[in-house]
Amino acid sequence: MSERYSRQELFTPIGVEGQQKIRNKHVLMIGAGALGTGNAEVLVRAGVGKITIVDRDYVEWSNLQRQQLYTEEDAKQRIPKAVAAKERLQHINSDVEIESLVMDVSVEEMDELAKNVNVIVDATDNFDIRMIINDISQKYRIPWIYGACVGSYGISYTIIPGETPCLNCLLETVPMNGVTCDTVGIIGPAVQMVVSYQTTEALKILVEDYDALRKKLVSFDLWQNQHTAINVQNVKKETCLSCGSDRSYPFLSYSNQTKTAVLCGRDTVQIRPPENIDRNLDSLAKVLSGKNGKISQNPYLLSFSVEPHRLVIFKDGRVLIHGTKDIAEAKTLYHRYLG
Protein backbone atom coordinates (compact mmCIF):
# COMPACT_ATOMS: atom_id res chain seq x y z
CA MET A 1 0.00 0.00 0.00
CA SER A 2 2.90 2.36 0.67
CA GLU A 3 3.67 2.09 -3.04
CA ARG A 4 0.35 3.61 -3.90
CA TYR A 5 1.37 7.27 -3.80
CA SER A 6 5.10 6.79 -4.40
CA ARG A 7 5.19 8.71 -7.68
CA GLN A 8 3.40 11.63 -6.14
CA GLU A 9 5.68 11.56 -3.09
CA LEU A 10 8.74 11.56 -5.37
CA PHE A 11 7.44 14.80 -6.85
CA THR A 12 9.34 17.27 -4.67
CA PRO A 13 6.67 19.98 -4.19
CA ILE A 14 4.40 17.32 -2.68
CA GLY A 15 6.71 14.78 -1.05
CA VAL A 16 5.79 12.46 1.82
CA GLU A 17 4.76 15.39 3.95
CA GLY A 18 2.47 16.82 1.28
CA GLN A 19 0.91 13.43 0.75
CA GLN A 20 0.03 13.32 4.43
CA LYS A 21 -1.57 16.74 4.12
CA ILE A 22 -3.62 15.61 1.12
CA ARG A 23 -4.71 12.63 3.18
CA ASN A 24 -6.10 14.89 5.91
CA LYS A 25 -8.08 17.21 3.66
CA HIS A 26 -11.69 17.44 2.57
CA VAL A 27 -12.71 18.57 -0.92
CA LEU A 28 -16.21 19.70 -1.81
CA MET A 29 -17.15 19.08 -5.44
CA ILE A 30 -20.26 20.89 -6.62
CA GLY A 31 -21.46 19.08 -9.72
CA ALA A 32 -20.68 15.65 -11.11
CA GLY A 33 -20.84 16.32 -14.82
CA ALA A 34 -17.83 16.56 -17.11
CA LEU A 35 -15.66 18.71 -14.84
CA GLY A 36 -16.91 17.00 -11.68
CA THR A 37 -16.08 13.48 -12.80
CA GLY A 38 -12.68 14.55 -14.15
CA ASN A 39 -11.73 16.47 -11.01
CA ALA A 40 -13.05 13.80 -8.69
CA GLU A 41 -11.11 11.01 -10.37
CA VAL A 42 -7.81 12.89 -10.19
CA LEU A 43 -8.27 13.86 -6.53
CA VAL A 44 -9.47 10.43 -5.45
CA ARG A 45 -6.52 8.78 -7.17
CA ALA A 46 -4.26 11.35 -5.50
CA GLY A 47 -5.50 10.09 -2.13
CA VAL A 48 -7.49 13.00 -0.74
CA GLY A 49 -8.92 12.18 2.69
CA LYS A 50 -12.54 12.94 1.96
CA ILE A 51 -14.50 14.16 -1.02
CA THR A 52 -18.12 15.26 -1.02
CA ILE A 53 -19.79 15.12 -4.43
CA VAL A 54 -23.12 16.80 -4.97
CA ASP A 55 -25.24 16.60 -8.10
CA ARG A 56 -28.93 16.96 -8.95
CA ASP A 57 -29.00 15.05 -12.22
CA TYR A 58 -28.86 11.49 -13.51
CA VAL A 59 -26.69 9.86 -16.17
CA GLU A 60 -27.84 10.12 -19.79
CA TRP A 61 -26.36 8.76 -23.02
CA SER A 62 -25.18 12.21 -24.13
CA ASN A 63 -22.96 12.37 -21.01
CA LEU A 64 -20.81 9.34 -21.87
CA GLN A 65 -18.68 11.14 -24.49
CA ARG A 66 -16.91 13.17 -21.78
CA GLN A 67 -18.12 12.34 -18.26
CA GLN A 68 -15.43 9.87 -17.48
CA LEU A 69 -16.79 7.99 -14.50
CA TYR A 70 -20.01 6.79 -16.16
CA THR A 71 -20.89 3.68 -18.12
CA GLU A 72 -23.61 2.63 -20.53
CA GLU A 73 -25.26 0.75 -17.69
CA ASP A 74 -25.53 3.98 -15.66
CA ALA A 75 -27.22 5.68 -18.62
CA LYS A 76 -29.57 2.74 -19.26
CA GLN A 77 -30.68 2.71 -15.64
CA ARG A 78 -30.68 6.51 -15.25
CA ILE A 79 -28.53 6.29 -12.13
CA PRO A 80 -28.11 9.64 -10.32
CA LYS A 81 -24.67 11.01 -11.14
CA ALA A 82 -23.62 11.36 -7.51
CA VAL A 83 -24.47 7.69 -6.89
CA ALA A 84 -22.75 6.39 -10.05
CA ALA A 85 -19.70 8.56 -9.39
CA LYS A 86 -19.31 7.28 -5.86
CA GLU A 87 -19.63 3.68 -7.02
CA ARG A 88 -16.84 4.08 -9.57
CA LEU A 89 -14.60 6.23 -7.34
CA GLN A 90 -14.79 3.79 -4.45
CA HIS A 91 -13.51 1.06 -6.75
CA ILE A 92 -10.65 3.32 -7.81
CA ASN A 93 -9.57 4.11 -4.27
CA SER A 94 -11.20 2.47 -1.27
CA ASP A 95 -9.08 4.56 1.14
CA VAL A 96 -10.93 7.74 0.32
CA GLU A 97 -14.08 8.67 2.19
CA ILE A 98 -16.61 9.51 -0.49
CA GLU A 99 -19.82 11.25 0.40
CA SER A 100 -22.33 11.50 -2.43
CA LEU A 101 -25.45 13.61 -2.30
CA VAL A 102 -28.26 13.62 -4.86
CA MET A 103 -29.62 17.10 -4.47
CA ASP A 104 -29.97 20.55 -5.87
CA VAL A 105 -27.63 23.02 -4.21
CA SER A 106 -28.87 26.44 -3.25
CA VAL A 107 -28.01 28.80 -0.40
CA GLU A 108 -29.03 26.66 2.57
CA GLU A 109 -27.43 23.52 1.23
CA MET A 110 -24.25 25.36 0.35
CA ASP A 111 -24.02 26.86 3.82
CA GLU A 112 -24.31 23.39 5.34
CA LEU A 113 -21.95 21.70 2.85
CA ALA A 114 -19.13 24.18 3.33
CA LYS A 115 -18.52 23.15 6.93
CA ASN A 116 -15.06 21.64 7.50
CA VAL A 117 -14.11 21.85 3.87
CA ASN A 118 -10.60 22.81 2.70
CA VAL A 119 -11.34 23.69 -0.90
CA ILE A 120 -14.43 23.90 -3.12
CA VAL A 121 -14.09 22.76 -6.72
CA ASP A 122 -16.58 24.33 -9.12
CA ALA A 123 -17.94 21.72 -11.47
CA THR A 124 -21.27 23.43 -12.00
CA ASP A 125 -22.84 24.63 -15.22
CA ASN A 126 -24.35 28.00 -14.29
CA PHE A 127 -23.52 31.31 -12.67
CA ASP A 128 -26.44 31.32 -10.22
CA ILE A 129 -24.80 28.61 -8.16
CA ARG A 130 -21.30 29.98 -8.75
CA MET A 131 -22.27 33.30 -7.17
CA ILE A 132 -23.57 31.41 -4.13
CA ILE A 133 -20.35 29.39 -3.95
CA ASN A 134 -18.42 32.65 -4.24
CA ASP A 135 -20.22 34.28 -1.30
CA ILE A 136 -19.95 31.15 0.86
CA SER A 137 -16.25 30.98 0.04
CA GLN A 138 -15.80 34.53 1.31
CA LYS A 139 -18.03 34.02 4.35
CA TYR A 140 -16.12 30.96 5.58
CA ARG A 141 -12.78 31.85 4.00
CA ILE A 142 -12.59 28.71 1.90
CA PRO A 143 -10.69 28.84 -1.42
CA TRP A 144 -12.62 27.80 -4.50
CA ILE A 145 -11.61 27.02 -8.05
CA TYR A 146 -13.79 28.28 -10.87
CA GLY A 147 -13.73 26.23 -14.04
CA ALA A 148 -15.90 26.15 -17.14
CA CYS A 149 -15.76 25.02 -20.74
CA VAL A 150 -17.70 25.06 -23.96
CA GLY A 151 -16.75 23.92 -27.46
CA SER A 152 -12.95 23.76 -27.43
CA TYR A 153 -12.72 26.74 -25.06
CA GLY A 154 -12.07 26.66 -21.34
CA ILE A 155 -11.40 29.03 -18.47
CA SER A 156 -10.30 28.76 -14.86
CA TYR A 157 -9.49 30.97 -11.90
CA THR A 158 -8.56 30.25 -8.31
CA ILE A 159 -10.19 32.45 -5.69
CA ILE A 160 -8.38 32.77 -2.37
CA PRO A 161 -10.41 34.82 0.14
CA GLY A 162 -8.45 37.77 1.49
CA GLU A 163 -5.91 37.52 -1.33
CA THR A 164 -7.35 37.48 -4.82
CA PRO A 165 -10.34 39.23 -6.33
CA CYS A 166 -13.52 37.16 -6.07
CA LEU A 167 -15.82 36.12 -8.91
CA ASN A 168 -18.11 39.07 -8.18
CA CYS A 169 -15.13 41.46 -8.60
CA LEU A 170 -14.29 39.83 -11.93
CA LEU A 171 -17.78 39.69 -13.38
CA GLU A 172 -19.32 42.85 -11.90
CA THR A 173 -22.62 41.67 -13.32
CA VAL A 174 -23.93 38.15 -13.26
CA PRO A 175 -24.13 36.86 -16.82
CA MET A 176 -27.75 36.49 -17.79
CA ASN A 177 -29.17 33.04 -18.18
CA GLY A 178 -29.33 32.18 -21.82
CA VAL A 179 -26.16 34.08 -22.53
CA THR A 180 -24.27 31.51 -20.52
CA CYS A 181 -26.45 28.74 -21.79
CA ASP A 182 -23.94 26.94 -23.92
CA THR A 183 -25.49 25.06 -26.78
CA VAL A 184 -22.56 24.72 -29.15
CA GLY A 185 -21.32 21.38 -27.85
CA ILE A 186 -18.12 20.45 -26.10
CA ILE A 187 -15.13 18.23 -26.79
CA GLY A 188 -13.52 16.01 -24.17
CA PRO A 189 -10.04 17.58 -24.34
CA ALA A 190 -11.43 20.99 -23.38
CA VAL A 191 -12.91 19.36 -20.29
CA GLN A 192 -9.64 17.61 -19.50
CA MET A 193 -7.64 20.82 -19.85
CA VAL A 194 -9.86 22.67 -17.37
CA VAL A 195 -9.71 19.63 -15.09
CA SER A 196 -5.90 19.78 -15.23
CA TYR A 197 -5.90 23.44 -14.28
CA GLN A 198 -8.40 22.93 -11.47
CA THR A 199 -6.87 19.80 -9.97
CA THR A 200 -3.33 21.18 -10.05
CA GLU A 201 -4.49 24.26 -8.15
CA ALA A 202 -6.47 22.04 -5.76
CA LEU A 203 -3.38 19.95 -5.03
CA LYS A 204 -1.35 23.11 -4.34
CA ILE A 205 -4.01 24.24 -1.88
CA LEU A 206 -4.22 20.82 -0.25
CA VAL A 207 -0.45 20.68 0.33
CA GLU A 208 -0.59 24.36 1.38
CA ASP A 209 1.89 25.48 -1.28
CA TYR A 210 0.14 28.82 -1.79
CA ASP A 211 3.14 30.48 -3.42
CA ALA A 212 2.86 28.02 -6.28
CA LEU A 213 -0.72 29.02 -7.15
CA ARG A 214 -1.13 30.32 -10.69
CA LYS A 215 -2.67 33.64 -9.62
CA LYS A 216 -3.80 34.41 -13.18
CA LEU A 217 -7.08 34.06 -14.98
CA VAL A 218 -6.37 31.46 -17.62
CA SER A 219 -8.25 30.63 -20.79
CA PHE A 220 -7.57 28.58 -23.88
CA ASP A 221 -9.08 27.42 -27.11
CA LEU A 222 -7.64 24.06 -28.04
CA TRP A 223 -9.06 24.05 -31.57
CA GLN A 224 -7.87 27.59 -32.31
CA ASN A 225 -4.49 26.88 -30.68
CA GLN A 226 -4.82 29.80 -28.30
CA HIS A 227 -3.76 30.22 -24.72
CA THR A 228 -4.07 33.31 -22.53
CA ALA A 229 -3.30 34.19 -18.94
CA ILE A 230 -4.17 37.56 -17.42
CA ASN A 231 -3.08 38.98 -14.10
CA VAL A 232 -6.38 40.21 -12.64
CA GLN A 233 -5.15 41.14 -9.15
CA ASN A 234 -5.99 44.82 -9.77
CA VAL A 235 -9.61 43.92 -10.41
CA LYS A 236 -10.11 43.27 -6.68
CA LYS A 237 -12.58 45.88 -5.50
CA GLU A 238 -12.67 47.31 -2.01
CA THR A 239 -16.36 48.07 -2.62
CA CYS A 240 -17.23 44.52 -3.68
CA LEU A 241 -20.34 43.33 -1.82
CA SER A 242 -18.99 39.79 -1.71
CA CYS A 243 -15.38 40.35 -0.62
CA GLY A 244 -14.98 44.07 0.20
CA SER A 245 -14.83 45.64 3.65
CA ASP A 246 -18.54 46.47 3.64
CA ARG A 247 -19.71 43.12 2.38
CA SER A 248 -23.27 41.84 2.50
CA TYR A 249 -22.99 38.51 0.64
CA PRO A 250 -25.79 39.50 -1.72
CA PHE A 251 -26.13 36.07 -3.26
CA LEU A 252 -26.89 34.43 0.08
CA SER A 253 -29.82 36.65 0.88
CA TYR A 254 -32.38 35.23 -1.51
CA SER A 255 -33.12 32.20 0.59
CA ASN A 256 -36.52 31.87 -1.00
CA GLN A 257 -35.06 31.73 -4.45
CA THR A 258 -36.93 30.58 -7.50
CA LYS A 259 -37.72 26.99 -7.15
CA THR A 260 -37.83 26.48 -10.87
CA ALA A 261 -34.86 26.50 -13.19
CA VAL A 262 -34.47 25.96 -16.90
CA LEU A 263 -31.54 23.61 -17.42
CA CYS A 264 -29.29 25.12 -20.05
CA GLY A 265 -29.25 23.44 -23.42
CA ARG A 266 -31.30 20.55 -22.11
CA ASP A 267 -34.88 21.46 -23.01
CA THR A 268 -35.65 20.70 -19.38
CA VAL A 269 -37.17 22.54 -16.43
CA GLN A 270 -36.41 21.59 -12.84
CA ILE A 271 -39.10 22.14 -10.25
CA ARG A 272 -38.05 21.98 -6.65
CA PRO A 273 -40.58 21.89 -3.82
CA PRO A 274 -40.12 24.64 -1.19
CA GLU A 275 -38.99 22.04 1.32
CA ASN A 276 -37.27 18.77 0.64
CA ILE A 277 -39.61 15.85 0.96
CA ASP A 278 -38.95 12.16 1.09
CA ARG A 279 -41.15 10.91 -1.70
CA ASN A 280 -42.32 7.33 -1.71
CA LEU A 281 -41.63 6.34 -5.31
CA ASP A 282 -43.47 3.01 -5.08
CA SER A 283 -46.76 4.55 -4.09
CA LEU A 284 -46.28 7.29 -6.67
CA ALA A 285 -45.77 4.58 -9.31
CA LYS A 286 -49.12 3.05 -8.33
CA VAL A 287 -50.88 6.40 -8.63
CA LEU A 288 -49.30 7.17 -11.98
CA SER A 289 -49.96 3.70 -13.39
CA GLY A 290 -53.60 4.72 -13.61
CA LYS A 291 -52.69 7.52 -16.00
CA ASN A 292 -51.78 7.36 -19.64
CA GLY A 293 -48.01 7.15 -19.60
CA LYS A 294 -44.97 4.91 -19.43
CA ILE A 295 -43.30 4.38 -16.05
CA SER A 296 -39.79 3.18 -15.29
CA GLN A 297 -38.14 3.27 -11.91
CA ASN A 298 -34.91 2.70 -10.01
CA PRO A 299 -34.23 3.12 -6.28
CA TYR A 300 -33.46 6.83 -6.74
CA LEU A 301 -35.96 8.13 -9.22
CA LEU A 302 -39.09 7.45 -11.22
CA SER A 303 -39.45 8.32 -14.88
CA PHE A 304 -42.90 8.95 -16.31
CA SER A 305 -43.27 9.54 -20.07
CA VAL A 306 -46.27 11.26 -21.58
CA GLU A 307 -45.34 12.26 -25.13
CA PRO A 308 -43.76 14.66 -25.88
CA HIS A 309 -42.75 15.15 -22.23
CA ARG A 310 -41.03 13.08 -19.62
CA LEU A 311 -41.19 13.73 -15.90
CA VAL A 312 -38.35 12.45 -13.74
CA ILE A 313 -39.21 12.47 -10.05
CA PHE A 314 -36.44 12.17 -7.47
CA LYS A 315 -36.78 10.86 -3.92
CA ASP A 316 -36.01 14.32 -2.53
CA GLY A 317 -39.09 15.69 -4.25
CA ARG A 318 -37.45 17.42 -7.21
CA VAL A 319 -38.90 16.88 -10.63
CA LEU A 320 -37.23 17.34 -14.00
CA ILE A 321 -39.67 18.05 -16.80
CA HIS A 322 -38.02 17.10 -20.09
CA GLY A 323 -39.32 18.35 -23.41
CA THR A 324 -39.99 21.97 -22.50
CA LYS A 325 -38.16 25.19 -21.74
CA ASP A 326 -41.37 26.87 -20.66
CA ILE A 327 -41.65 27.17 -16.88
CA ALA A 328 -45.41 27.70 -16.98
CA GLU A 329 -45.95 24.61 -19.10
CA ALA A 330 -43.65 22.63 -16.81
CA LYS A 331 -45.62 23.73 -13.75
CA THR A 332 -48.87 22.71 -15.41
CA LEU A 333 -47.50 19.21 -16.07
CA TYR A 334 -46.12 19.04 -12.54
CA HIS A 335 -49.45 19.81 -10.96
CA ARG A 336 -51.41 17.64 -13.39
CA TYR A 337 -49.52 14.49 -12.46
CA LEU A 338 -48.15 15.17 -9.00
CA GLY A 339 -50.91 17.26 -7.44
Binding site: G33, T124, D125, A148, L217, T228
Partner: protein
Protein backbone atom coordinates in the same frame (compact mmCIF):
# COMPACT_ATOMS: atom_id res chain seq x y z
CA UNK B 1 -4.71 47.84 -38.02
CA UNK B 2 -2.66 44.92 -36.80
CA UNK B 3 -3.08 43.77 -33.21
CA UNK B 4 -1.51 40.93 -31.28
CA UNK B 5 -4.51 39.18 -29.80
CA UNK B 6 -3.96 36.31 -27.39
CA UNK B 7 -0.51 35.91 -28.89
CA UNK B 8 -1.53 35.89 -32.56
CA UNK B 9 -1.03 38.75 -35.01
CA UNK B 10 -4.46 39.62 -36.31
CA UNK B 11 -5.58 42.23 -38.85
CA UNK B 12 -8.73 43.97 -37.78
CA UNK B 13 -10.83 46.20 -40.07
CA UNK B 14 -10.56 50.00 -39.78
CA UNK B 15 -14.00 50.13 -38.21
CA UNK B 16 -12.52 48.56 -35.09
CA UNK B 17 -11.24 51.59 -33.17
CA UNK B 18 -12.04 50.88 -29.54
CA UNK B 19 -11.96 47.97 -27.11
CA UNK B 20 -15.74 47.82 -27.31
CA UNK B 21 -15.57 47.59 -31.13
CA UNK B 22 -13.11 44.73 -30.79
CA UNK B 23 -15.37 42.83 -28.41
CA UNK B 24 -18.21 43.22 -30.90
CA UNK B 25 -15.94 42.24 -33.78
CA UNK B 26 -15.29 38.90 -32.09
CA UNK B 27 -18.98 38.40 -31.30
CA UNK B 28 -18.41 38.60 -27.57
CA UNK B 29 -20.66 41.54 -26.70
CA UNK B 30 -23.14 39.24 -24.95
CA UNK B 31 -20.41 37.79 -22.75
CA UNK B 32 -18.55 39.07 -19.75
CA UNK B 33 -15.10 39.82 -21.14
CA UNK B 34 -11.87 40.75 -19.38
CA UNK B 35 -9.59 42.78 -21.64
CA UNK B 36 -5.92 43.47 -21.14
CA UNK B 37 -4.22 46.09 -23.31
CA UNK B 38 -0.44 46.09 -23.19
CA UNK B 39 -0.56 44.30 -19.84
CA UNK B 40 -3.03 46.70 -18.26
CA UNK B 41 -6.62 45.65 -17.65
CA UNK B 42 -9.16 47.92 -19.29
CA UNK B 43 -12.01 48.45 -16.86
CA UNK B 44 -15.44 47.50 -18.16
CA UNK B 45 -16.68 51.07 -17.83
CA UNK B 46 -13.92 52.24 -20.18
CA UNK B 47 -14.31 49.74 -23.00
CA UNK B 48 -16.15 52.27 -25.18
CA UNK B 49 -13.69 55.12 -24.95
CA UNK B 50 -10.47 53.10 -24.89
CA UNK B 51 -8.80 53.45 -28.31
CA UNK B 52 -6.71 50.73 -29.88
CA UNK B 53 -3.34 51.42 -31.51
CA UNK B 54 -1.50 49.50 -34.19
CA UNK B 55 0.64 46.80 -32.57
CA UNK B 56 -1.26 46.76 -29.27
CA UNK B 57 -0.94 43.55 -27.35
CA UNK B 58 -4.45 42.52 -26.41
CA UNK B 59 -5.52 39.63 -24.23
CA UNK B 60 -9.21 38.74 -24.33
CA UNK B 61 -10.77 36.31 -21.90
CA UNK B 62 -14.50 35.69 -21.86
CA UNK B 63 -16.47 33.89 -19.19
CA UNK B 64 -18.47 30.80 -20.02
CA UNK B 65 -20.78 28.79 -17.83
CA UNK B 66 -20.67 25.19 -19.02
CA UNK B 67 -19.05 22.41 -17.16
Amino acid sequence: MELVINGDKIDVPDTVETVDNLIQHFGLSEKVVIVEQNQIIVEKGSHQETKLCNGDKIELVHFVGGG
